[in-house]
Subunit: 444 residues, 2 copies
């Protein structure tokens, strides 16, 4: 598809190119446009039918949006801005330089400008910053017929019409009513009698991840957002909630790998900013690893006396790191999905200890056989290695399962307590256990 | 809340307990019930108002559903089954023992039983296995008024009414029309004229993750599912798509931590099955780590000649593991979100090399200063350590970024190529580089 379009553009067959584009889904048109060379993007955009162009614009990456906005004349900018939903407009503006924002805002009406500025003022990653103000509001005294009338007259500009919000004269949220309820009720029924008054909502300052989690928990299509005075100010829709869930998971995964998270996809991040996101953690972890080196130096005498012991250091450290990350990542994901709560901690620790004894025991037994039959080391050396293995797995699981919970308790993100940090801690502990058991058993 | 309810049950104040429960959201009622001691669960369930009871039932974990079904009398089972949506009923049955499934199926009507059996027959993790057949279907020749009539008469049992599917006489999908479109069109308009004919759909055998990704990509509330003859057989709704996204991400994360993934939440998994999910990988990785030990044994002579070198082994191995996991996890997540495609590979590898040189260079420089000023090792030793560091980071990033892509190309899940495996490979490579550079520079 990409090649065909490029060919048509090359041959200046714009009408045929337009035919390819005109029946695409907005998301697909956006993806196709982003495959074009930058110089051709404004041209391709202009080939899209007007409505599709505005819809596709919402699906584009911020850097492409910026490029297009800069290429737009005033009329084009007007058209795109009037076709954009409020939350998509805000998403776009959040990423743009101030002078572009100023030009864009001069092309929307005063009411919209006020709403955009309000949303831009909410803290990053809050429910307020991802909500839209384009919802259908009804009054409790309306009839079903009047409600449909209101949806018909205002609905075309609303991001969702399927859940309507019933507010009082001071904009306080009184209830919600779905279009399904409306369709299944008689035309003359009063909204107050059919609305659901037990309404779940979040506040403008609620974390966006929490808002998404609430929406998903209750299987909503949108969740209302209220301000400090409990007045309805907006809604977060399910499509944005899915995006939040994906973004926050990516952030968690990046933190687990000791990378400073960013909003931009990997292929769009410059080498320099990738370096900036990775190198501080590598440095920090490298410095922490020198403790491990210090421990080894401390026991240099013992190692020189029994050089065979050195060979097992990597295996012991790796196994500790591996079982520690199994525990920590299980706990981090459980915390993030809300499956593990503080009161589960005693049960959880008990479980990790039992699992550690089982896993450590299995590994020690397997290793013992290998040490005696294949490596043919002495019995005391085998005993030292296997006892260390059991202890290391036990300590790793304890450290791995409790540190993420501790981090959360202290207000940090549990995800930073994943493999890299656990590995560094476990490495040092593993060596201390190893050398002390060796000293005890081998008397070196 | 939990304590208060338990207290009321203890004091047999069932009416008051019922009052607490009656206004809860289904998801909350399900969560509260799951906090109760098992013996009290059927009692609490019976205190719920009928409609809430059926709705809450859909939100419960399979083990609690099974417990309740076993406690139900025939009338209760009838009520719950008739209140359940088809896909929720299937979810429940998938997890139950055969004799319970048989009893449950004897309590649904023949039509529903046929649909349930059909869905149960689709492969696990396919779009067919998570779809529902309860959608609104329209004919192209209907008017908007007739369409509303059909929604009103059948809608109460449908999971979503907001997207309606237009099919021909052979159930082939012709188009879709949303309730928003219907509301904004004149009553006498014919559906064929307003329906969207460019319809995205998935097949019953499409992977459920792919179905969820398509739905999220196009911001749909539901995506149609067709059979091999392109006849419409069901739809996957957005709430189920979110669950799929969360489950598949958990699976990915578990694989990244070298754990065999399972469907059950951690706190509900027995110690024995947790052990079974973890120990094979630990064993496999432990055996792989013995290669590292073999390498060290091979160079025992060199190490004995320059004992100071041993101290840097953990730092070099850890740094390799850390930068390798940074690369691999970035690539795995990018592949899973569809942000990285095969044709991006050359660009990606180039980028990883540059980043590796930058990161490795920074680490080597920092380490050189520390070695000379704090550790006060000889210049040749410092040179060996720093040169190794640079090489190790380079190799780690190459291995970390290419192995997940290779895994995907070969049809495996890229997620298994995360930290633990990368670490094991990188450890061995790091040592080989280290000892060879040491031999070269120090002549040992």
């Amino acid at each position: 598809m990409t090649e065909r379009l490029l060919e048509l553009l090359e041959e200046k067959k714009y009408q045929e190119a337009g035919k390819i584009l005109k029946d695409m889904m907005p998301a697909d048109a956006a993806a196709l446009l982003s495959e074009m060379p930058e110089a051709k993007m404004p041209l391709v955009f202009r080939l899209l039918p007007k409505e599709l162009a505005a819809d596709a614009f919402a699906y584009m990456d911020p850097d492409i949006q910026e490029l297009l906005v800069k290429a737009f004349n005033d009329r084009e900018l007007d058209e795109v801005m009037s076709g954009l939903f409020l939350d998509d407009a805000v998403d776009m503006l959040e990423e743009m330089p101030a002078n572009v924002v100023k030009r864009v805002l001069s092309h929307v009406d005063a009411g919209t400008r006020k709403m955009i500025n309000q949303i831009l003022n909410y803290p990053k990653d809050s429910a307020g910053s991802i909500m839209t103000m384009e919802y259908v509001d009804l009054k409790g005294s309306m009839t079903v017929a009047q409600a449909f009338e209101r949806i018909r007259s205002t609905g075309i500009e609303k991001e969702t019409v399927y859940t309507c919000y019933v507010t009082d004269s001071r904009r306080k949220l009184e209830g919600i009513v779905t279009v399904k309820d409306l369709l299944l009720s008689p035309q003359e029924e009063v909204i107050r009698n059919i609305m659901e008054t037990n309404v779940k909502f979040v506040s403008t300052h609620t974390d966006q991840e929490e808002a998404a989690r609430q929406l998903s928990k209750y299987d909503f299509l949108a969740i209302p957002v209220v301000d400090a005075e409990e007045r309805l100010v907006g809604i977060v829709t399910v499509d944005d909630a899915i995006d939040v869930i994906q973004e926050e998971t990516t952030e968690d995964i990046e933190k687990m790998a000791a990378i400073t998270p960013s909003d931009r996809p990997y292929m769009k991040t410059s080498v320099l900013s990738t370096w900036k996101k990775r190198v501080p953690w590598l440095l920090l972890l490298m410095i922490s690893a020198t403790f491990t080196s210090a421990i080894i130096s401390n026991f240099e005498g013992a190692l020189a006396a029994s050089v065979v012991l050195t060979g097992f250091i990597p295996m012991l450290m790796d196994t500790g790191g591996n079982s520690g990350s199994q525990s920590s990542i299980t706990v981090i994901r459980g915390l993030s999905l809300g499956e593990i709560r503080y009161r589960d901690v005693p049960k959880l620790v008990g479980k990790e200890i039992t699992v550690a004894l089982l896993c450590g025991g299995t590994l020690a037994a397997a290793n013992f056989l290998k040490l005696m039959l294949i490596d043919r080391v002495t019995l005391p050396v085998a005993a030292v290695v296997c006892a260390t293995l059991l202890c290391v797995v036990l300590v790793s699981n304890l450290v791995g399962s409790t540190l993420p919970i501790l981090a959360k308790r202290l207000g940090f993100d549990p995800a930073v307590m994943a493999s890299p940090f656990i590995t560094t801690i476990v490495d040092a502990v593993a060596l201390l256990i190893y050398f002390n058991i060796a000293k005890l058993v081998l008397g070196i």
